[in-house]
Assembly symmetry: C2
Homo-oligomer: 411 residues x 2
């Protein structure tokens, strides 16, 4: 009989967000009139920039004429989009990244998981704790871990705790690790990395022949001009880092789907025979064989993000959400709740009051304020006692949610 | 130092279509005025149905209003699309498939590769020869094979030859295989499977606890009413088959990107402890963790394929390409070239004349007729001496290409 991938059986009861969905649906079914406000999942709520919509309508019209119709596009993305990304996101910040090192995809979540395809199964893998669950779960599925303990930590992974105690800065490991996931601005804590901190990581990676998987999905939310937006702003990163970016959060593409991964041609990994192999070629082969490119229509929408109108409209979207973040920080502080993040990131990382566990605070907030957030423990053991509140919602909903929380918690 | 997935090094020099692209580009660069006609890659050329374009423009407009804006959708696809697929593609043909067994994706190529994630690494895998290269290459990448021999056959795979000698019908294997890839109407040979033939496969799979991976990407091109469109038309297939479908070829979505995979809840695989595990749950978990759904805009376009206008326009597209196939068959026969397929499939499978090898015929056709086709040997060792010509092009180009071939080859 056909056998299954047993590693799937090691996964914990459900990916975090489906579990939240289950609890919210159960509450909503029992309380059909409850005016639930969702500040849980990091999903945008405001309309897509007009520049993107105009470009996509034009692209749909292109599909109606034989002369401009587009069939299969390059698996790596159209060159006009890759060029725009290289110019505006990287070269404009002094990063030495060329268009052919950019792979357009339908999502960073997909790429973060798929990237493991090109690596060996014997690498030591480090993640921060708390961490975006996809990094961990995809490694479990790939058989890179043992079982989880009662705290939800998987045997074989190296966890780097980040919490208020170390100012949300992961310590450079003393042992050797081969693959390191870093996400800055951080999901879920909203923490950032300075150039100095990233330089330490790059130096570590180069010394050990490690690869940093750098998730920059939230770079557009950086307000502090001294902070790096890309790991390639750090000297030497071309030798040790893959970067993931997304149009989901800056331009509101969560339901439109476009992202990108940067694989510099200078990256190398070791083959079993000891020879060095270029990672770019492996990823290019992976994408050519297991992916067929992003919808032409969507790529045209993404391209428009870099037009003058698109840039202004995207900037306005980000400013809007960051004002939400400011309000959340201010009001929660006002309610006597301790907050972190939310200054260079759309996430506010809350210390649960009265020593409540993360899920207890989740249930309390849902039942008494009808507000949905994300339990910190869902992001890892060291997230216990924390709670993530997302700035992605309307101003009205954010104000309402904060009023309810202040009323309930202000002692 | 980080290690790579050494299995990638077993892959042959390049995925078939990039290699064709390389040769065509080199020829075009050397002969910039050559009026090249591409009947190689199976890519559509005619405009997207109006019903789909209208629905997508409406969907883009939805994205411009907060009230109708869509963020993250269900990873499995929107229920309105899954319902439409279940009703029109399956239940209407008597297949007992429900909407929640349908997973909408951005491509069958992706799904065919990704499906391996949920299976164990110790399964015996069977493919036909010739075969769509993605089935083989993704198994090589996953480490399910040894090295390739000089004929391009990978150690560890079970090859089931299909050629004119067995009327392009793979013999049911005498040994036990766990995963079997079947594609009907067949890419590349254009052959079809009768209900009786598929019943033999289903009976084999049920007797051995095997899973059939059934690629029905070309089902819309079936003209013979006695032929099954879905494997679920066969009694017992819910117990042993996963089916892949695509909007690429019927509705011209190769550049728009939408497909689907059917995983019945009754499918099971064996865990290491001997217990039975539902494959649906594994695939659902895989998609929830490593995929974020198809663009809302594209899903609305796919939904429109099932509207009365969409059905009529899609039918017209298929009829158009099938008339091309008829012309190709007729003209090649006229030129004294032996042809197969092209009656229930958009591919004509040509026996290369004068005993030419597949790649020699490719080069000859490119250089003397400026026509691009696909070498049969690129689909597997048993494809040597054959050549695939695709019906996906304008009538004018098909007529021109056939005129050139008839002139050149008619002795």
């Amino acid at each position: 009989m056909v056998t299954i991938n047993d590693n799937y059986l090691k996964l914990k009861a459900g990916y975090l967000f489906p579990e939240i969905g289950r609890r919210v649906n159960a509450f909503a079914a029992a309380n059909p009139d409850a005016p639930i406000i969702r500040l849980g999942i990091g999903d945008v709520t405001e309309p897509l920039p007009e520049a993107c919509r105009t470009a996509m309508i034009k692209a749909v019209e292109d599909m109606g004429d034989r002369a401009t119709f587009k069939g299969y596009g390059p698996e790596q993305g159209y060159s006009w989009l890759r060029e725009a990304i290289a110019t505006h996101d990287f070269q404009s910040r002094g990063c030495d990244i060329s268009a052919d090192e950019i792979f357009v995809s339908d999502g960073s979540k997909c790429d973060c998981g798929n990237i493991l395809d090109i690596f060996g199964n014997n690498n030591t893998i480090a993640v921060t704790d708390p961490v975006y669950p996809v990094y961990v779960d995809t490694n479990v599925m790939a058989g890179h871990t043992g079982d989880a303990n009662e705290r939800g930590e998987y045997d074989g992974l190296v966890y780097l705790p980040i919490s208020a105690e170390n100012d949300f800065t992961a310590e450079i490991p003393s042992q050797k690790v081969d693959l390191i996931y870093l996400c800055f601005p951080n999901n879920p804590t909203g923490a950032t990395a300075t150039k100095e901190h990233l330089t330490d990581w790059v130096n570590y990676a180069r010394a050990h022949g490690s690869i940093i998987l750098f998730d920059a999905a939230y770079e557009a939310f950086i307000t502090d001009p001294s902070l790096p937006h890309s790991i390639y702003e750090i000297e030497g990163a071309r030798e040790c880092a893959i970067e993931f970016r997304s149009f989901s959060k800056n331009a509101g593409f969560t339901g439109t789907r476009c992202a990108l991964t940067v694989v510099p041609k200078s990256l190398k990994g070791k083959a079993a025979d000891g020879s060095d192999v270029e990672l770019w070629g492996l990823w290019n082969r992976r994408q050519s064989t297991k992916f067929n490119g992003v919808s032409y229509i969507v790529q045209r929408g993404a391209e428009a993000v870099y037009s003058p109108e698109g840039k202004a409209q995207t900037r306005a979207l980000i400013d809007f959400y960051m004002e939400n973040a400011r309000i959340i920080r201010e009001q929660l502080t006002n309610a006597g709740i301790q907050v972190h993040g939310g200054v260079n990131a759309p996430y506010v990382w809350v210390k649960t009051p009265h020593g409540l566990s993360s899920w207890d605070f989740f249930d309390k907030l849902l039942h008494t304020c009808n507000v949905v957030g994300t339990p910190g423990s869902g992001f890892g053991a060291a997230g216990e006692g924390y709670f993530r509140i997302s700035a992605f919602n309307s101003r009205e909903n954010v104000n309402k949610a904060m009023r309810r929380i202040v009323e309930k918690f202000k002692s």
